[in-house]
């Protein structure tokens, strides 16, 4: 179960041999397929209003700077507020999520206690409940606590990640040796100390994975903010772009702004992937769904 990075040299211990053309071709076709829409959005973001619908899709336009300044000017720069909100929800939420998953998964993976399997299965079953089932009751309950339409209403429900707990459990079982824990106990270390000083560093690649999944999950979440938030200065980017797109009948969708906004909204995620990939481990049991 070696940690593995996305750009790790794929060839391994290389023996110089002739290129295998079929696999190479298949991979390049796959890469192109995945790139087409992204290339389109990059090009479309350079077009001004009239070019967007009148020029060939893959012909670059002349309006990128104008689009950027329009987007920045839109409602006094609320777009950047949405970006900052998304960064806050996703970053802080994923951090808390990784912390909670670390403790929970560690407990499930490294201790045997009564009810362990029951608890684990129960939490795992949480994956199966569609978000839409929970959203409205969550809203009504948070409202009763006076927390609806606050930053908390977006953060709190995002912290628990059943999948994160599951992943850390697997990871803890595989990467934290029992002998080491026992040895530390003999030396009189407290359970908390063992967890924080020994287990957490050893589980770090797994925790980074949890952080990333949860970051992407929260960044891409639409339903929760849609239900929870009313004040548009608290909107994350997905909901903000949606309101830009879903104008009323008397207001046309602001396509150029939406497209430029889309491009800018995916850039941080792509950048995050590129930067963090060297730390990122996806072990063989991972499997997740984007919601």
């Amino acid at each position: 179960m070696t940690p593995l990075t996305l750009t790790a040299d794929a060839t391994g211990p290389s023996r110089a041999r002739r290129t295998a053309w079929v696999p190479t071709l298949v991979l390049i076709l796959g890469a192109l397929y995945c790139l087409v829409p992204i290339a389109w959005v990059i090009i479309a973001a350079t077009k001004d209003r009239s070019e967007l619908f009148s020029t060939f899709s893959f012909a670059p336009g002349t309006g990128l700077l104008q689009n950027l300044s329009d987007l920045t000017a839109y409602r006094d720069g609320i777009y950047w507020q949405w970006m900052a909100n998304s960064a806050f929800y996703a970053g802080f939420g994923a951090l808390l999520s990784a912390a909670v998953s670390a403790a929970g998964g560690y407990a499930l993976g490294r201790y045997s206690f009564r009810g362990r399997e029951a608890v684990f299965k129960l939490i795992l079953a949480g994956v199966l409940v569609p978000g839409i089932v929970l959203a409205v009751p969550q809203y009504l309950l948070l409202s009763k606590m006076g927390l609806a339409d606050s930053y908390w209403s977006m953060l709190l429900p995002s912290i628990l990640s059943p999948y994160g707990v599951y992943l850390v459990r697997i990871y803890a079982a595989a990467s934290v040796p029992t002998e080491l824990m026992e040895a530390a106990r003999m030396d009189g270390a407290s359970e908390w100390r063992i967890f924080s000083r020994i287990a957490v560093p050893m589980m770090m690649p797994g925790l980074i994975t949890v952080f990333l999944f949860q970051f992407v999950g929260i960044w891409n979440n639409f339903l929760l903010p849609y239900v929870m938030l009313a004040d548009d200065t608290k909107f994350p980017i997905t909901l903000g772009l949606y309101t830009l797109l879903a104008q009323g009948a008397s207001q046309p969708a602001l396509y150029t702004l939406v497209i430029t906004g889309c491009l800018l909204a995916i850039l941080p995620l792509i950048a995050l992937f590129l930067v963090i990939q060297r730390f990122w481990s996806l072990d063989l049991l991972s499997g997740s769904i984007k919601s």
Partner: protein, 331 residues
Amino acid sequence: MTSAPLKGSDRVEVGPLADGTGTAPSVRPSSPRRRGRSAPYWFLAPTLTLFAAFTVIPIGYAVWLSLHKVQVKGIGLGKGARAEVWNGFGNYADVLNNSEFGHSVLRAFGYGLIVIPTMLGLALVFALMLDTPKARSASFARLMIFLPYAVPGIIAALMWGFLYLPAVSPFYYLLDKFGLPEPDLFNGGNLYLSFANIAVWGGTGFNMIVIYTALRAIPQEIYEAARIDGASDLRIALSIKIPIVMPSLVLTFFFSVIATLQVFTEPMALKPLTNNLQSTWSPLMAIYDSAFLKSDIYGASATAVVLALATFVLSFTLLRISDRYTREDRA
């Protein structure tokens, strides 16, 4: 009103061990290693508290809502014209008698029949190709194919939506140039393909990485031995690699099925572009329609509970099958 949040934070400190788990807190004074015994519960406390607060209680509330309805009196205007009343299983009867909901479930399955084999098939092929020692530009391709995972579903659907429209699409431009027939991507069966393509685009990379990672965990010596025996790359892939990554395939399949039943973003984002899409095209759209457009949270809750139960049944069946495969892996 102001005391509510306080109460909430109290529970984090005191209640979590006993709450929501169904298992007794085992802080037994007689235990020789009291500290070590209670440790797992303390570590689990935040998880369980959050699970209780944001999963168990909301589900309970949803069930409660699903058993009620609003009763209107007279013309229903003015204060007190509406009352929340007990409805027993009335909402459930409505859901099960509603042919539209049944159709939406069937459509979701039809869509899944296209998406899942294509997506996992492509993911497997790409993963095997990545794992071929002589393939060029593998790391570039790997990154590119994975990239769509970073794109929010709603934005992906939007981008493809533009690419599907004859008026703006480069594909139609090319078809037109070469005088080829131009299919209507929003018509009948093509609709399924159009949605499926978006899901495949977004999901292949992730599944590819999962399978590929499993492949990389196989010791290289196995291949060396096979090669010495004269096995081709194709032969190695088919008879060694695929069986070994089977558990990962089963797992990705399991998650894909759940995602399929919950298909929502793609049809929702494309609905305004066409007159071919029913407001209850997928089960989640039906729930959205009653909860967020018709403001009937009672009926929506009942539909949601039915869908969640169906997902549970399906998942546990699949989980049982997958357990058979993964057990040997874990042992």
